[in-house]
């Protein structure tokens, strides 16, 4: 529980917010080896350990652990559930002061608000400056926002497959997901917590639509093609004839077991509101003025050639702004077949780059 209230971009104040977090590895006595990993839209604090609801491995277990690129023998890795989410941190499914569930009374958040929560956690832990802040996708947005708004709090920034602003296309896909949730009769204005009838159908559709944006067309073709699911011929009906349909349905329904529909609304909204330049007078370079002339953090941006959600051009845009600000920045576009999700999957070049950047 944060001792200080969080002043939010909306003008509202969130008091007594709880931040649920996990740590991996030992914090050095001088607290110089802390790495904060920021999770993506539907991620959580279980970056390197088994998820308590699904029983599945942590979402970045291939990257975080003893001897791995983010080496917990050397670093103390901290990963916290963002506010607005539903894995223990305060969000729309939490109780408000009056003892009832927030639902849609929960304040609308921004990425910067999430970062304020994370910095609040660092304050509680007594960590003045992180060794690094690391994140992919929405986690990358948080890493950039932390660097822009709290320039003294980290020595390195590693932002993977991310963007400094949500594009019209990004917002459009999120709006499809939100409308699917809100069109579910079980959603009931977000007030669905009492009787267990939750808007699973809407949330599953939201997840299905979003999931497509995380993959590449070539990746989908490679994985499924036009192959049929457990049958020899088309059914001339609307069952999941194709493997890709079956896969998406599975992804959608699995997601509803572990995620709150209102959290999905709030977090996608925060991402849509994200525009780092807008927060800093309209010029992105000004967002990074705290890192001018090599005195600030070292930045490393990584994009993937098949990521059409946050394509390489978005990373280059950030790199140009950092260069204009005089910040120390490196950038590489890696080749990987998996689209946006590449940052979570088997890409040896990413492992090398992450390890190399954190060790140097």
């Amino acid at each position: 529980m944060l001792s200080k209230p969080l002043s939010l971009d909306s003008g509202q104040v969130l008091s007594g917010a709880t931040i649920a977090y996990e740590t991996y590895g030992e914090l050095a006595e001088d607290k110089s080896n802390a790495i904060l990993i920021c999770h993506a839209l539907t991620g959580d604090q279980y970056v390197g350990s088994t998820h308590p609801v699904t029983g599945k491995p942590g979402w970045w277990e291939r990257m975080v652990g003893p001897g791995l690129p983010i080496d917990t023998n050397r670093f103390c890795v901290i990963c916290a559930n963002v506010i607005g989410s539903c894995m223990g941190s305060t969000g729309p499914a939490s109780e408000a002061d009056d003892g009832t569930i927030y639902g849609m009374r929960f304040p609308v958040l921004t990425i910067r608000d999430m970062v304020r929560g994370l910095v609040g956690l660092l304050d509680e832990l007594g960590i003045e400056q992180l060794h690094s802040v690391v994140g992919g996708s929405m986690g990358g947005m948080q890493a950039l926002s932390l660097a822009a708004n709290f320039p003294d709090r980290t020595a390195r920034v590693l932002a993977i497959a991310t963007t400094a602003r949500h594009s019209a296309q990004n917002i459009a896909f999120h709006e499809v997901g939100r409308q699917a949730i809100m069109a579910d009769p079980n959603w009931r204005g977000g007030d669905y917590y009492a009787d267990g009838a939750t808007p699973d159908a809407g949330l599953a559709v939201a997840r299905m639509a979003a999931h497509i944006t995380y993959l590449s067309e070539a990746g989908l073709t490679d994985k499924f093609g036009r192959r049929l699911q457990n049958r020899d011929a088309k059914s001339f009906g609307f069952d999941a004839d194709f493997q890709v349909e079956s896969y998406l349905r599975y992804q959608g329904s699995g997601f509803t077991q572990r995620f709150d529909a209102n959290s999905y609304l709030y977090i996608t909204r925060a991402m849509d509101y994200f525009d780092l330049a807008e927060e800093h007078g309209g010029r992105l370079a000004d967002a990074f003025s705290g890192h001018a002339n090599n005195s600030g953090a070292r930045f490393f941006l990584v994009s993937f050639d098949t990521d059409w959600l946050y394509p390489t051009a978005e990373s280059r845009h950030i790199v140009h702004a950092l260069n204009a600000a005089g910040a120390a920045v490196s950038f590489v576009e890696l080749s990987a077949p998996y689209g946006h999700d590449s940052f979570l999957l088997e890409v040896p070049a990413l492992d090398r780059a992450v390890r190399g950047f954190l060790d140097a």
Partner: protein
């Protein structure tokens, strides 16, 4: 490799190639440098460690960018033809273009960018008028494949072969001043006498 500079000049991996050493010697300590086509960051590391330079790089190959990042260097993957225009005016004291001018889509535009982004620019390139190249063309009647230009015409990255005399003419036309020039053959510095005939490589320091 675009152009081969000697073969066994860095047996211990410590000594700088002589063209890079000439550049390093002519960079003031504590300045800001952008090395375009910085490769694995050998020159940048040297400048940072020996001369306390704020050393930045641009490199087109992702594997080489990775190696630079592992050395703690700030290197951006990019194509100089396209990305140099994104840097602010006079963002650097020096820009460096090593053995890359002859691969640019428009070497003249590239020169303009080098001197816009940097107050001064170092440019090095293989000299197509060196006697080995001339004799290979004259007597072989084919595009030369020599120790300084080891790749056949159909697969070389060198799309704008240039001689020292050509280069001097271009910079004179542009009103660019020569602050210094150095010439190399067989992996060693040579005198400027008859450089267009004798030199395999040239390094120019330019300002506007």
């Amino acid at each position: 490799m675009i152009a081969q500079f000697g073969g066994s000049l860095m047996p211990d991996g410590q000594t700088l190639r002589p063209d890079l050493a000439a550049i390093a010697r002519n960079i003031s300590p504590g300045t800001r440098v952008l090395d375009i086509g910085c490769g694995d960051g050998t020159l940048l590391s040297h400048l940072r460690e020996e001369q306390q330079v704020d050393a930045r790089g641009m490199e087109i190959k992702s594997e080489l960018v990775e190696r630079c990042v592992t050395k703690g260097l700030s290197v951006v993957q990019g194509d100089a033809d396209r990305d140099l225009s994104e840097y602010p005016d006079k963002a650097f004291d020096y820009t460096i273009l090593s053995q890359t001018l002859q691969t640019a889509a428009r070497p003249d535009h590239m020169l303009d960018q080098l001197l816009r982004v940097g107050r001064e620019a170092f440019v090095s390139f293989p000299n197509f008028a060196q006697w080995r190249t001339r004799t290979a063309l004259m007597f072989g009647g084919r595009m030369p494949v020599t120790r300084s230009l080891p790749v056949s015409w159909f697969e070389t990255d060198n799309i704008h072969h240039v001689t020292i005399a050509d280069f001097r003419e271009l910079i004179a036309q542009k009103g660019v001043a020569v602050e210094g020039c150095w010439f190399f053959s067989g992996g060693r510095a040579i005198s400027p006498v008859g450089a267009n005939w004798r030199a395999e490589f040239a390094v120019f320091k330019l300002s506007r």
